[in-house]
Structure formats: C-alpha cells, structure tokens
C-alpha cells in the first residue's frame, strides 16, 4: 500500500474534455479534488460532475471530490470571504484547464474573458492558498511558425483568436506567478482525440467533427441514390461502385503539404500525471506526437471507415476558380478555420516532456485506433443522445458548441 497523497488539487475545466479525463485520473490515484466551475441554469456543477463521474465509473471510489460554483472573473472567484478562505485553506495545487476554444473573431470577447481575463483570479487563489504549483493547460499551437520549442512564446502572429488568447494567457501565467512567487508549469497538448485503448470519448469535436460531417454528406447521397433515384448524385458524379463503396468526389484544398498532430487523451493524461508528480517550475511541456499523420492518411482512414472513395487532397492556392461540387463547398467551409492544423509543418520539441516522462510517447494513430474511436462515436451517436445513453457525453458540433468550463469548438479538443 502506498502512502496516501495529501495534496488537494483545485481543478478548473473539469466538465470539459481534457479536464474531465484529468479528474478521472486523479480520482483513480486517490487524489483529493476541489472542482471549480461556473454556475449554470438548470443543472448544478455538482450534478454535472456527478454525471461525469458516472460516465468514468469512478463515482463510488470514495475519493474526496468537492465542487464549488465560482466566477473566475469576480474577486475571490465570486465567493464570500469565509467560503473563499476555506477553499484556499484546503487547496495545495491548482490545475487550470478551463478554456474557450472557439476560433472565430466574433467569439473574441468571450474567448478573451475566459482565456485571459479569468487568469488573475485563479492565479491569485494560488497565492492565497500557498499552492505548491500552478499548472496551466495551454495548446501546442501557441508556439507560432517554425520549430516549436518548449519555451516562452516569441510569436505575436496567430491564425485565430483562440491561439492569440492562449498565448497571452501563457505570458500572464508566467508573469503573475513569478511576481507572486508561485511555482508554475505550462503544458501544451496538440489536438486530442479519445482513448486509444478503449476508443471512448465524452467529446466529439475536432477529428470527430470532420469525420461525422463526411458521414452525413455520405448519408445524404446514399439516401438520394437508394430512395430518390439518385438524380442529385449523378449531377455531380456521385455513384455507388460495384463493391458497394460510394464514390464521392471531394477535394480538400490545402496550401501545402504537412501533417496533423493528434494525440489520444490517455497519453495527455499520462504526461499530465507525470507533470503533477514532479513539476519543475517555469517548465513548458509539449504533449504532442512524434508521428503526426498527413491529411492523405487521415482521408484514407475516413474513406475506409465510412465506405467511401474519392477524397483528394489538393495543394496550392485553393480551388483557383474551379467549380466546387456542393459537398466540396460545404466541407471546405467546414475545414477552412482548421487549415493551419491540417497542413502543419512544425516539429515540436519534447525535451522537457521526455525528461519528465521517459518512455512515454504518444501512441500512433493507426487505422485500428482510428476505427476504435470512431466506432465508439457512432455507437453513442456522436454524443447526440440518440444512441446508447452515456452520461456526461456531449454532442459533436462546431461553432455553437459551448460545453462546460472547457468551451469546445468544432475542431480542436484541447485546452
């Protein structure tokens, strides 16, 4: 029997994708947790957390899990003095996972509030609680173009509001924590998908969203062919091939060749647990894959999984005036905000991560892993609640998704 760890972790974003998986892992390690989350109409934070604990099947493990509904933008997190002091008296380490991952310019205000303006309050709590360490979950993509070092951000140019605000957040974490002498770490995961071993996930954004979109487009034309004579399909060269595969000509336009850096959530959790075990203040850790996949490889996975053929990746300046068929037009609209991630050429330095978690490396995203994860998503109807009921699962979506403390966007499951 190991000695029980007496540390109490305060965790934000616990009802989001990464945060919930961290919560699960910490509970399985018998860590004590204070979950900090927003008030929400209709369902309490405690109920939202309870649903997740049930989904992870850790509800009855007897771990100490306390919830506190807070507002990170308010002084003392919006709590009364005695309540705030009591919380600070308990907490010995803070993991700040909460994030707004929307990319669009029209989400700037909300993204800035969640990702930047909320920081001083939670960092102040680190000081007031005398926290041993403040852990900030960022994103690998703040490092800008070129070689991505595990070092403070230099770049000031970002492709979207999300990266811009996360970069600003990293600067503030370093500055504020240094000022108040709170040790801190910054972890930078790339794009995260479900569990590579079980295939399970409780969010179906990012990779899932694109696969599901292709699946829906496939279904539209299969239905047209099967039940309505296939006129619309024929107009754009969509047909069923003799082997039952749907020929769906669809070009994805990318500026250049590159790759997509994807990691499974179990790997993210494993590295995070190592960071929590032996944090080195001021260190930045990249949680990324050394074997990123190309868009062609992912397209091939999609074709195989969905029973379609005809996806083509075209490199250059875009359609260049060529007429796009409707599926292409819609799919490329969907992909547009994520183009930087689909043809990424960066290589991520992992020196700090390797030194901390020797022997740990991201499992390859093989077709088997892909198939396992996507099959699970299909089984639970992409979180729509139409398939097997699975508490704590959120639906697949894009822009309008605003899930829990970790405000998820369409494409990137990451903090």
């Amino acid at each position: 029997m190991g000695q029980r760890d007496e540390r109490v972790f305060a965790l934000t974003g616990a009802t989001g994708f990464l945060g919930s998986h961290l919560m699960d892992a910490l509970i399985r390690k018998d860590r004590s947790l204070v979950i900090l989350g927003r008030r929400r109409e209709g369902v309490s934070l405690a109920d939202r957390v309870a649903a997740l604990l049930a989904w992870f099947d850790v509800r009855d493990r007897g771990a100490f899990v306390e919830t506190a509904e807070v507002d990170l933008l308010e002084p003392r997190l919006g709590l009364e003095r005695h309540r705030y002091d009591a919380l600070c008296g308990k907490v010995s380490e803070i993991i700040h996972c909460a994030s707004d991952t929307r990319f669009s310019e029209r989400s700037r205000r909300e993204a800035t509030e969640t990702n930047v303006h909320a920081l001083p309050g939670i960092i102040r709590m680190a000081k007031d609680s005398g926290a041993r360490c403040f852990h900030y979950v960022s994103t690998a993509y703040v490092s800008g173009s070129g070689p991505a070092r595990e070092a403070p951000i230099v770049s000031r140019m970002f492709p979207n509001v999300y990266e811009e605000t996360k970069a600003e957040a990293e600067r503030q974490v370093a500055a504020l924590c240094s000022l108040q002498a709170t040790p801190f770490t910054i972890v930078r995961p790339s794009i995260v998908y479900g569990d590579s071993v079980t295939g399970r996930s409780n969010r179906f954004n990012a990779l899932y969203y694109h696969v599901r979109a292709l699946g829906l487009i496939r279904d539209i034309y299969l239905n047209d062919i099967s039940h309505h004579g296939g006129r619309k399909s024929r107009e754009i060269g969509i047909h069923l091939e003799p082997d039952g595969i749907l020929h769906l000509p669809l070009r994805i336009f990318l500026a250049r060749r590159g790759h997509v850096n994807l990691i499974p959530v179990d790997y993210f959790v494993a590295v995070m647990m190592s960071v929590l075990e032996s944090p080195r203040s001021g260190h930045i850790y990249h949680i990324t894959s050394d074997a990123p996949r190309t868009t062609e490889e992912l397209a091939a996975y999609c074709e195989r999984f969905l029973g379609i053929r005809g996806i083509e990746t075209v490199y250059g300046e875009g359609p260049n005036g060529s007429v796009q068929n409707p599926p292409e037009e819609i799919f490329n609209k969907l992909v547009r905000p994520y183009l930087p991630y689909l043809s990424d050429t960066r290589s991520f330095d992992r020196t700090n991560t390797k030194s901390l978690a020797a022997g740990l490396s991201a499992p390859d995203l093989t077709y088997d892993v892909f198939e396992r994860c996507m099959s699970y998503a299909v089984r639970v109807d992409w979180g729509n609640g139409n398939g097997r009921r699975d508490g704590g699962v959120s639906r697949a979506s894009g822009q309008r998704e605003s899930e829990e403390e970790e405000t998820e966007n369409g494409s990137v499951n990451r903090s």
Binding site: Y209, A213, P326, E329, I330, G398, Q399, R400
Partner: protein, 595 residues
C-alpha cells in the same frame, strides 16, 4: 375559412346558395354542437341545413389545409342526427311567428332574414376568449346599401341593437349581438376602374376574393388575412399586411368609402361635408355607420418580383436590418417573422410545424427571419447589403422538403460550421444543392402526413408553383390561419416606433404575463411602416378554446396585458394599440401614428 375557395378545389354549394353561415361547414359544426348540448331543437332550417349537405368532402380539403380538421365527419354526424330525429317521428320546431321579422323581410326578401334558432345559434359565439356569447333574435342578409339603410332605420325605430359582420373572423368577438346580426355575405360586388387605379368592393368581399380578382388583371391590393372582409378590416384595424411597408395603412389604402349612418342616411368620404373619419382619437371612437362600399387602390405588379428570407440570431439585428431596408425603400413588403409564425405557415401539418420550429430555432439558432419581397432591383440591393439569405429557390426546396427537415442530422452539422458570420453557410450555391439532395423535395412526400383520401388533391395543390412562391403566399396569405391550428390565438397588435429596446420591453412584459398564467405565447411579426419610422407589432397569446380553465386564464392575462400596453402607451406616447383603432381604421395613417 370554408366560405372561400382558397385552393381552387371548390366550396360548399349550399352555402353559396343560401348565404347564411349555417349552410357552410363552420356553421354546421356549430349547429351540431348546439344540438348535442340541447341548446337548440331540430327546426325547419336545421333540417334543411343538414339535408343540403351532400357530403361532397370539399370542406375537408379547404379546412384540413389550414386547421388540420375534417368537417365532413361532423357533417355526417349532423345528417345522421337529423335523420334519426325525423325517422323517430319527433317534432320539428317552427320558427316563432314574429311580425317584426315580416317587416325585415319586406326590406330584404323572405329568404334573407330569419329568426330560426338553428341559424341564429351559428351566429351566437366567436372563438375569441373575450367574446360574450349572445343568441341573436334575427339574422339578416341585406343585398344592397339601400336595404342596409332601411334596415338601420327599422331596427333603430324599434330600439333593437344590431351588429354587422362578415366572415366572423373578428378575434375580439365584436360580431355578436342579442338583437340583429346583419351578415354582409351577399354584398360581393367587385368593380374595377383601371383608368383610376381603383376597385370598388362591396362590404361582403373578402381579402382573398379581391386579391384574386386584382391579380388576374395584373394588380395587387393591400389587404389583410384572406377571410377577413376588406371593408370590415379597414374599419377595425386600417388594414395591415407586410405590404404596408410600401403601400401604407389606413387611409393610404383607399380612395373613397361610402357609409350608411345609423339613422339610415348616406355619406361618402369624398364629400365636403362628410364626417371627418381621417382624424384619429386616441381615446377611441364610436361607429360612423356601416361601410357599404370601398374604393380600394390598385397597385402595379412587375413580372420580376421575388422574395427572400434573411435569418438572424437576434431580434435586435433583425429590427436594424428591416429598418435599414424600409428607410432605403428596398422591397415592397417587409416582415420580421418569429419561428412560430414561419413554421406554422410553411408546414402542412401541426406535427411538421413542431419539427420545423425546432429545426429553425434550436438546431439552426434562428431567432427570427426578415422576409423581403420586391422586384429584381430590390433583390439585387438586398444581395448587396450582404446578409446570408434564403432565396426563392431555396425556400421552394425547403417548403417541399419539410418532412425531412425535422429529422435531418446534418442540420446541426451545418449550424455548427465554424464561420465568422452567422448563417454564412447560406452563401454560395453548395448549400442549396446539398439541401435539395438531402430533403428530396416533392409534393407527394410533403402530403404523406394527411389522410390517404386527401393526398391526391393536396399533392396537386402543392405541385402548383404558387404554394411555394413567397410573393404569392404573402399576397394571398392562405396559410396564415395555420397560426391558430394548434391552439386558438389572441393577437395584441400595435403601432409603435421600430425601436428594439421598446419592442423588447413590450415583448418581455407580455411574455411574462402569459407565463404567469401558463399560456403559450410568442412574438408574431413586425412590419415597418412609413419608411421605418414606425412599425406594426403583433404578439400572440395561445389558448385552447375548449378548455374552460385556459379561457379563464387568458381572460385574466389579456386584461393584464391590455393594462400593460396602456401603461407603455402612456409612458412613451408613441404606441397605438389596435383596440383604440377599432372604428377608426379609415383615418390618415399620419394622424394615427404621430398626432
């Protein structure tokens, strides 16, 4: 609704022959209910009413199209009831001998006045929760203004109260009276004077009938909902439609009107010594008499008119946009429509309407849409304004593909497209094409929810381009009554500044009152008038007219809502509730809006 041939599939022949509402399906349904409750005996007219129905089924086509009801079942029950009564040798009640009735008949003819209770009972109540049921002593159908004059003199001399009514569509219940009900159904003259861009209509002409005649000659008139009588609506509300944006309201709509005063004398508004009906009194006014004819303005139509729906994720943005259009004189007709309105109008059945509302509001995040109709130059301007929109072609695809819309998984995927601009997916042709592939629009699929025997007729109806043409649908408004398909509705209609803060305050206030009384309620529509300086707002309460408890609640809620509107009016000085326009609809719009 069953008195007018909205679908071109015919209406009840006996109704057209006898004129009384009792000989139309809606009257027969009322009569059967009264017989079942023992409110009236089987009378001579009752027997004729029952036997004059040949169960042709035409009323099912007309009625089910908008209400989902099938009156033929009631017609069968009525006929059976009367047949059993006669077979059993039970007595048939004769109308009471009444010398005064003879005097009335001297004026209008024996056929056109009655005191038979089987007829009177069908004029005794209204769907409005505010209406007080009243069984009239006489029902009279005059045929000329001279007959109206003589009637008013006779009734006045005898001290018998009277009301005039048309198709009984008054949602406030103003068409009821214990004395005489004067039904104007026979006075359906329509005389065009194209040289002077006008058409003279009798007081029994309904909006649909006039619009149909005008459209056949290449004109358009500004009229209200299709079953409402043109003269009556002018009197009650000044006529409001989405076309009021371009054509105005109140006195903007007509050239002259002829009246019969309550003492039986005549006047027309173009006479120098006529009463000043162009004025507006905010405290309300008494009736100037009976409008016996109206010269309505004709408006030209161009062959390039079309429409578009511009979706918005907030009412404020929709108001800004519609004001912008109105100020710039872009479009012939503009209306901000809520999802309840849109889904009800578009959907052939209530089940589909519920799915469509969910799809529009929840899945696509549409708070409201602005409908703009106009010629090709207006449409080009609209495009230049840069908002994503649903054009006529996509509307047709959606309209005929509604059955697949509610279950479409791809809707949420489309709504989730990470665009900088709400509804940006509507740009480009790809979306429309994908939607067409996904929905497989067809009239035959659209009508599958109807009973099998109705489907062939409805398939033919929906195959007509009109039924998915935004311009035609808004000119003729034959689907507007669908708003009351699930539940009867009580509209609060008012003129006010096209100002979001004020409208939001009003809607919030009216909504909270309805919620307190557990009533379904929703924002209905907003139409800019007078270049966007003002607008017409409709907010609706819904209730089950067969639920006594709900009727009690809506009465209380309506009283509170009325008081709230009065308070808003007193505070702002700029709100004109339609309640006070009643009897003053012939006024100058400017007197109504600004005086």
């Amino acid at each position: 609704m069953c008195k007018i041939d909205f679908l071109g599939t015919g209406v009840c022949a006996s109704g057209a022959r006898r004129g009384y509402v009792s000989f139309y399906p809606e009257g027969r349904m009322d009569l059967y209910a009264a017989l079942a409750k023992g409110r009236v005996p089987v009378t001579e007219e009752c027997v004729e009413i029952a036997q004059s129905c040949d169960l042709c089924g035409k009323c099912d086509y007309q009625c089910c199209f908008v209400t989902g009801l099938r009156p033929t079942r009631v017609m069968e029950a009525l006929k059976s009831h009367v047949a059993r009564h006669l077979a059993a040798g039970k007595p048939v009640a004769h109308a009471d001998a009444d010398p005064f009735l003879q005097s009335i008949r001297m004026i209008v003819g024996d056929e056109w006045a009655t005191n038979d209770r089987a007829i009177a009972v069908t004029y005794s109540h209204a769907p409005s929760p505010l209406a007080v049921p009243a069984l009239p002593r006489y029902v009279i159908l005059p045929g000329t203004r001279q007959e109206i004059s003589s009637l008013l003199k006779l009734l006045g001399s005898a001290g018998i109260p009277w009301v005039v009514r048309g198709n009984g569509t008054n949602l406030m219940g103003f068409e009821l009276c214990e004395g005489a009900v004067i039904d104007l159904n026979r006075m359906k003259e329509i005389e065009f004077d194209e040289k002077n861009w006008s058409v003279r209509v009798g007081p029994g002409v309904a909006a649909f009938e006039l619009q149909r005649e005008a459209a056949q000659r290449g004109y358009r008139v500004n009229v209200a909902e299709p079953a409402a009588l043109v003269c009556g609506t002018m009197m009650c509300a000044g006529i409001v439609s989405l076309f009021s944006t371009a054509y105005g309201s109140c006195a903007d709509n007509y050239i002259d009107a002829e009246f019969v005063r309550t003492d039986g004398s005549f006047f027309s508004l173009n006479e120098k010594n006529a009463p000043n009906l162009f004025a507006f009194d905010r405290a309300g006014a008494v009736s100037p008499g009976v409008c016996s004819s109206l010269r309505v303005k004709l408006h030209p139509m161009t062959g390039d008119e079309s429409g578009a729906l511009v979706p918005f994720d907030s009412l404020e943005k929709a108001i800004d946009f519609s004001r912008d259009c109105a100020m710039r004189r872009i479009g012939l007709a503009i209306g901000i429509l809520g999802p309840e309105y849109l889904s009800s109008f578009m959907s052939p059945t209530q089940r589909t309407a519920a799915e469509v509302k969910d799809a529009l509001a929840r899945k696509l995040g549409i708070v409201c849409m602005v409908l703009v109709l106009g010629d090709r130059y207006a449409m080009a301007s609209l495009k230049e304004m840069g908002h994503p929109m649903i054009g006529q072609d996509l509307f047709r695809v959606l309209g005929l593909g509604l059955p697949s819309l509610g279950t479409a998984d791809w809707l949420e995927f489309i709504a989730g497209l990470p665009e900088e601009e709400p509804f940006g997916y509507l740009r480009g042709g790809g979306f429309a094409d994908l939607v067409e592939a996904a929905l497989c629009p067809s009239a035959s699929r659209l009508v599958r929810d109807f009973d099998p025997d109705l489907r062939p007729v409805y398939e033919e109806v929906y195959s007509r381009p009109d039924l998915t043409d935004l311009v035609w649908l808004n000119m003729f408004r034959i689907t507007s009554s669908r708003i009351g398909r699930e539940k009867q509705f009580l509209p609060f209609l008012m003129y006010l500044p096209l100002d979001h803060a004020l409208i939001d305050d009003l809607c919030t206030g009216l909504g909270s009152i309805a919620l307190r009384y557990a009533l379904k309620n929703d924002f209905g529509f907003i139409t800019p008038v007078d270049g966007g300086k003002r607008c017409v707002l409709e907010y609706d309460y819904f209730f089950d007219q067969n639920d006594g408890d709900e009727i009690d609640r809506i009465r209380q809620a309506a009283a509170e809502a009325g008081a709230a509107i009065d308070r808003f009016s007193a505070r702002t000085g700029t709100i004109r509730w339609v309640k006070y326009i009643f009897q003053q609809g012939y006024c100058r719009k400017e007197n109504l809006l600004y005086a």
